[in-house]
Every structure is written in structure tokens, then in C-alpha cells.
């Protein structure tokens, strides 16, 4: 089965993250990496490909640095990469991103892909909407947020867990599927994988290559706009309860005051 995995290059959540002058996420002056939640989608694709025949193609839409996300996926074992790189994409929101991805996925798969895998959400935007939007644009069924997945008889079946219940969902292939961080344990790039990735093909496409009109994407045509932002307030000093024989009472009083008990 030929699988396309959509991955995102995001600012490292452990480093300082900032905004640019135009109130978009600063993706240039920060350390970036393959969104950790997308590693689960890459891993799932590799497992499926290893179990049968087929190829795994990773697609990313992003600035120069996004090539790093592709490289990481190739080091893990994906076969080839596609990087959609175009200055006009800067500032795109989820609808615009899904538009570009849809064209890139079609072109990468040479028509219709058999399976598109995606992560639960990006670790920067954390919107979780792109899989659904992409499915709509591709005219394919979607099953999102799976914590287990099986392919058989031309169908994809999986489990979506929520606090209240677990649903078993099924869709005919081809389909767009997003997976959670419960589905597997992503592998580390092996040394062989790291060396092999050097020789794997990566294509870079512009909007023109995909036949996407630059006017449909970018900051100007985004449906939402960031007006202003403030840094998260520093964490407040906690209250230290010293136990002088009455620690339990003090703790209970504190919890009661905070209306926690």
C-alpha cells in the first residue's frame, strides 16, 4: 500500500517560542523539529508498509527549515519526501494549508493516495482540524484520532478513545486517518536509517507546480487574524505549607479556600 503521511515542522516546544512582526508564529529564529505528534503517524505508516508492500511518502508544507522534518521522517524509514515551499504560503491558516496539502498529496500519489496518515494535532497550532479539511478537499472519508488501526479487505478500521466511550470506526479505502500518541511507540532513527536518508529522494514543489493560486493562501486570505498577543504570565510562587503538627489541617484549609474540596 502506498501511504502518504503529512508532517509539520514546528518550533521546539522546549525552547523559547515567539511571534514575528506580523503576529505569525516565528519559524525562522527558533529551533524547529518534526512535530512529535506526527512521529506517531510516520511510525504507523512504516509499520503498515513493513507488514506488506508499499511506499511511504512524507509531505510537508513549510519554510526552508521544514526540510528537517522530512529528513527526520526519512531517517525513521520513509521512502521519499515532498516539500512544498513557497514564500506566498507564509501566514496560511488551516483551510489554506489543507488546500495546498490536498494538491501536494494528489501529485505525490499520482492521483489518489491509498491512505493518508496524519498526527493528532500539530504541537504549535494544536487545532486538529487539518485532517478533516484535507479529507473534504480530497473527497475521501475521514476517521480521526485513532488509537489503534487495522487495514483489511479494502477497509481501515480503528478505535477512537474518549473519556466516556471507545468507538470502533471503519471507512473504505482510500481514506484520511489521523492517529493519537497512544497508537504506537515511534522508533528512533537508526544509524543505518540516518545514513540511508542521505540518498532518499526529496522533491521541492512551489504553488505553481501544484496549480494553486497564490491568492488563495497566505496571511492575507486567512480566515482568522492574530490581533495581539501577550506572553504567558510567569508561574506564581506556590504556597508552602510547613508541617508543625497541623500540616493536614492547613492543607485541608488551603484546598477548601481554593474550592477544591
Amino acid at each position: 500500500m502506498n501511504i502518504v503521511v503529512c508532517v509539520k515542522y514546528v518550533p521546539d516546544a522546549q525552547a523559547d517560542r515567539t511571534f514575528s512582526q506580523d503576529n505569525t508564529t516565528d519559524r525562522t529564529n527558533v529551533d524547529g523539529l518534526l512535530s512529535e505528534l506526527d512521529e506517531y503517524a510516520v511510525e504507523e505508516a512504516l509499520k503498515l508498509a513493513e507488514a506488506g508492500e508499499g511506499e511511504v511518502t512524507v509531505v510537508t508544507v513549510g519554510p526552508d527549515g521544514a526540510a528537517e522534518a522530512i529528513k527526520k521522517a526519512l531517517q525513521m524509514g520513509a521512502d521519499k519526501g515532498v516539500h512544498v515551499l513557497d514564500d506566498a504560503i507564509h501566514g496560511s491558516d488551516a483551510p489554506a494549508t489543507s488546500l495546498v496539502l490536498a494538491e501536494a498529496v494528489k501529485k505525490a500519489a499520482g492521483g489518489s493516495p491509498e491512505l493518508v496518515l496524519m498526527g493528532l494535532a500539530s504541537t504549535d497550532g494544536t487545532m486538529s482540524v487539518v485532517p478533516a479539511m484535507l479529507a473534504e478537499r480530497l473527497g475521501l472519508p475521514q476517521i480521526t484520532q485513532l488509537s489503534s488501526l487495522e487495514i483489511a479487505d479494502g477497509k481501515v478500521t480503528g478505535r477512537r478513545d474518549s473519556d466516556a466511550a471507545s468507538d470502533t470506526l471503519e471507512a473504505p479505502l482510500p481514506a484520511v486517518v489521523s492517529v493519537t500518541d497512544q497508537i504506537n511507540e515511534p522508533r528512533y532513527p537508526s544509524f543505518k536509517g540516518i545514513m540511508a536518508a542521505k540518498k532518499k529522494p526529496v522533491e521541492t514543489w512551489s504553488l505553481a507546480d501544484l496549480g494553486v493560486d497564490a491568492g488563495q493562501v497566505g496571511l492575507e486570505s486567512a480566515w482568522t487574524k492574530v490581533e495581539s498577543f501577550t506572553a504567558r504570565p510567569p508561574r506564581e510562587q506556590g504556597e508552602i505549607v510547613t508541617d508543625e503538627g497541623d500540616g493536614g489541617t492547613k492543607l485541608a484549609e488551603f484546598l477548601a479556600k481554593a474550592k477544591l474540596i
Binding site: 529528513k71 527526520k72 528512533y188 532513527p189 544509524f191
Partner: protein, 386 residues
């Protein structure tokens, strides 16, 4: 010119091993220190991720890569919260199987090298004896030919991973006195007359099990011979260059880690109303520690680069190891000092590095032996030429 230590592939390797260590090693290390051993499972996990076989060719079951890559793996493990002792027991194959691989004996390679690099078997190297380790040519363990077997009698001391290992690449005397009477035999655990001591109790390297092994007329098939009879000493000496380089990497990498831990501590620890890093006495300590790390790393890496290019830098490997050992001893001592009372407690990482480091100047050739070897090779003797 691009730094060969910073190629994109090596940056990725360091990053991957760092993540592996933070997840699969660092959180459990204290427990393994208490247990006195690491679990077998770790060998498999490490092999599955493809880091156990770095430095060994794919043809023998390794992952490829050279001694620079091996050094990057060790640096990354230590910097991410691993330890010298952890590497000693997890990578014991680094001293146990190179002779097997170098001999080109495909039968031994298939039975020992391949499964070890896959994390299925654990190997160890038996050279040192209770009677002495420095004088390798004086090995007394005898192997007497008896039909298709050798009958092995004697004992081996301080054998890393000796408690857990499935086989021991053992230096034995098949011939007369002197180094050309020595041969290497791969001896399986469980053979008659082969007994293993309780784990030896040590100052450091607690997670690394160490044993005394005894052979009493142990029958070892002659097919277990690595290379030819009489070739053991040279094979062991050849690999010593790599072992010394690897221990030098432990030295500067542990020193770097201890420096980083001490620096972080000094930034946050306040006395008399100010962080102690603001005191000249502490700052100068840190900068001297930094200098020692930088010096020993630069020297060691230059030797590693020459080894990677195919040279056999015997004398310089001695200098590098002794330099890194000295740097490490100095830096871990100062790091404990900067931590004050906290540095004396088991729960501080620097305390472990302090104990673990003491072996570096003893194993793989003591400081004195390496100085002596370097002196000879560099011509510092009455008959020598310089």
C-alpha cells in the same frame, strides 16, 4: 571546511542517541546501579534502534560507521544522563568481539558477533588474571590440546559483564612462555569446569557486573580458536588502541557532563545572598574545568580522527587516554566540591561520576603502563632516538 564531528548525519545520530538515553537509560540508571546489573532487554532495545552495532560493518551484523560515530554515541549517552559504567556493560562487545570480526572467521562471526550485535548474546573479554593485568604477556591460563578440544585451566579476574555474559573471548596460553605462546579462545558459559564468581563489589561502575572466572579442565572445541595459535597477544594489543581511545572519550565526556551539572548548580545555589557562580573562587574553578575538558577532548579527537583515517596511533592513544583521565579526575572532584554537601550524596549525579571515574586510569592499561609505553614509542630512553 565542515567539521567532521558535525556532519548532518552525525548531528542526527547524536540527537537520536540523546533521545534514546533520556527515555530508556537515564530514568532507570539509579535502579540498575542498585541492582548491580543492567537488564538484557536493554541490549535488544538498543540493537533494535541500531545503536549497539555502530562501528561494526553491516556484513557482520553491525550498523556501519567508524570510530568517530562510536565516540559520538558514547558522548551522547554520557551527556544525556548515562554513565561510563553503563557504557562499559552495555557495550562490552566493543572489547569482546573485534578480534572475532578481524579474524574473518565466518563461523565465529555468525555464532558470536552477529547475535551479540543483535542484542541476543552478551560477550566479555578475559585477559586480566588474579596474578596481574598489566603484564599481559605473563598470562598463565593454560589451554592444552586434547583431540578436537583444548582443555582450559586457570582464572580470569575483573571481567566486565562476566556475570551476565554468554561467552568470553579469552586469552590463554597454548604454547610456551612469552607473548607468542598466547592464543584467543571463545569460551561458552556453562561448559564443564567453567565457574563464575559472585559479582565483585566495586567502588564505582555499579551497574556494570564484574566477575572472576575459573576454568578447571574446561573442554573447549578447537573450532573456537580466533585466528591461529600464537596470534592472541598481537590481536589483543591491536584492539587495545581502540579500547584506550574509547576510555579517553569516557574521560572527557564525563568531565563535560560534570562541568555542566556543576555550572547549573552554581547558577542556582545561593550563599550570602548571591549565586555562588558570582564568586571568583567558583568561576575560576569552572573555567579551569572547562579548559581541562577542552584540552583533553581536542587531543583525543585528533587521535580519533587519525584512527578513523586508518592510522594506528598507539603512542598518541596513550597520551590521549592519560590526558582525559587526568582531566576527568580533576573535573569530577571539583564538581563534587561545587555541589558542597549535596555532591557527597548518592542522589547527586556528580557523586556517581566521581566514583565511576576512578577506574578510567586503571582499566585498558594503567596510567603508568601507558606512560611507559608512550615513553618507549616516543624514544624517551637511553637507547632511544628523538
Amino acid at each position: 571546511m565542515t567539521d567532521i564531528w558535525l556532519t548532518p548525519e552525525r548531528v542526527a545520530l547524536r540527537d537520536a542517541v540523546t533521545r534514546f538515553t533520556k527515555k530508556h537509560i537515564a530514568p532507570q540508571l539509579s535502579q540498575w546501579e542498585d541492582d548491580g546489573a543492567i537488564p538484557r532487554e536493554l541490549h535488544r532495545t538498543m540493537a533494535e534502534s541500531g545503536y549497539l552495532g555502530v562501528g561494526f560493518a553491516e556484513e557482520v551484523g553491525g550498523s556501519g560507521g567508524d570510530i568517530i560515530d562510536v565516540s559520538i554515541v558514547a558522548e551522547a549517552i554520557i551527556q544525556a544522563g548515562g554513565s561510563s559504567g553503563l557504557i562499559a556493560c552495555l557495550f562490552t562487545h566493543g572489547i569482546a568481539i573485534p578480534h572475532i570480526v578481524a579474524s574473518g572467521n565466518t563461523d565465529l562471526i555468525d555464532r558470536y558477533a552477529r547475535p551479540t550485535l543483535a542484542g541476543e548474546l552478551i560477550g566479555s573479554l578475559g585477559v586480566t588474571e588474579p596474578g596481574g593485568g598489566s603484564d599481559v604477556a605473563a598470562v598463565r591460563t593454560r589451554a592444552v590440546r586434547d583431540g578436537d578440544n583444548y582443555l582450559v585451566t586457570g582464572s580470569k579476574m575483573f571481567i566486565t559483564s562476566g556475570v551476565r555474559s554468554d561467552f568470553v573471548t579469552t586469552l590463554v596460553r597454548t604454547g610456551g612462555d612469552g607473548h607468542d605462546g598466547l592464543s584467543l579462545l571463545v569460551i561458552d558459559k556453562g561448559l564443564p569446569g567453567f565457574s563464575v564468581s559472585q559479582p565483585l563489589r566495586k567502588m564505582g561502575w555499579h551497574c556494570s557486573d564484574t566477575a572472576e572466572l575459573t576454568f578447571d579442565n574446561t573442554p573447549v572445541p578447537a573450532s573456537q580458536l580466533v585466528g591461529g595459535e600464537g596470534e592472541g597477544f598481537v590481536a589483543v594489543m591491536r584492539q587495545f588502541v581502540n579500547e584506550r581511545i574509547n576510555l579517553a572519550v569516557h574521560g572527557y565526556a564525563v568531565a563535560q557532563r560534570a562541568l555542566d551539572l556543576a555550572t547549573e548548580y552554581a547558577r542556582t545555589r545561593e550563599t550570602f545572598g548571591r549565586p555562588i557562580i558570582d564568586r571568583q573562587a567558583i568561576r575560576h574553578k569552572l573555567v579551569k574545568m572547562h579548559r581541562r575538558v577542552a584540552e583533553s577532548r581536542a587531543l583525543t579527537r585528533s587521535v580519533i580522527e587519525r584512527a578513523a583515517a586508518g592510522e594506528e596511533p598507539i603512542a598518541d592513544a596513550c597520551l590521549a587516554k592519560n590526558s582525559a583521565v587526568e582531566a576527568c579526575d580533576y573535573v569530577v572532584d571539583e564538581a563534587v566540591q561545587i555541589f558542597g554537601g549535596a555532591g557527597y550524596l548518592r542522589e547527586s549525579e556528580v557523586e556517581r561520576h566521581y566514583r565511576d571515574s576512578r577506574i578510567l586510569g586503571i582499566g585498558g592499561g594503567t596510567n603508568e603502563i601507558l606512560d611507559d609505553l608512550a615513553a618507549k614509542l616516543l624514544g624517551y630512553s637511553s637507547g632511544g632516538k628523538r
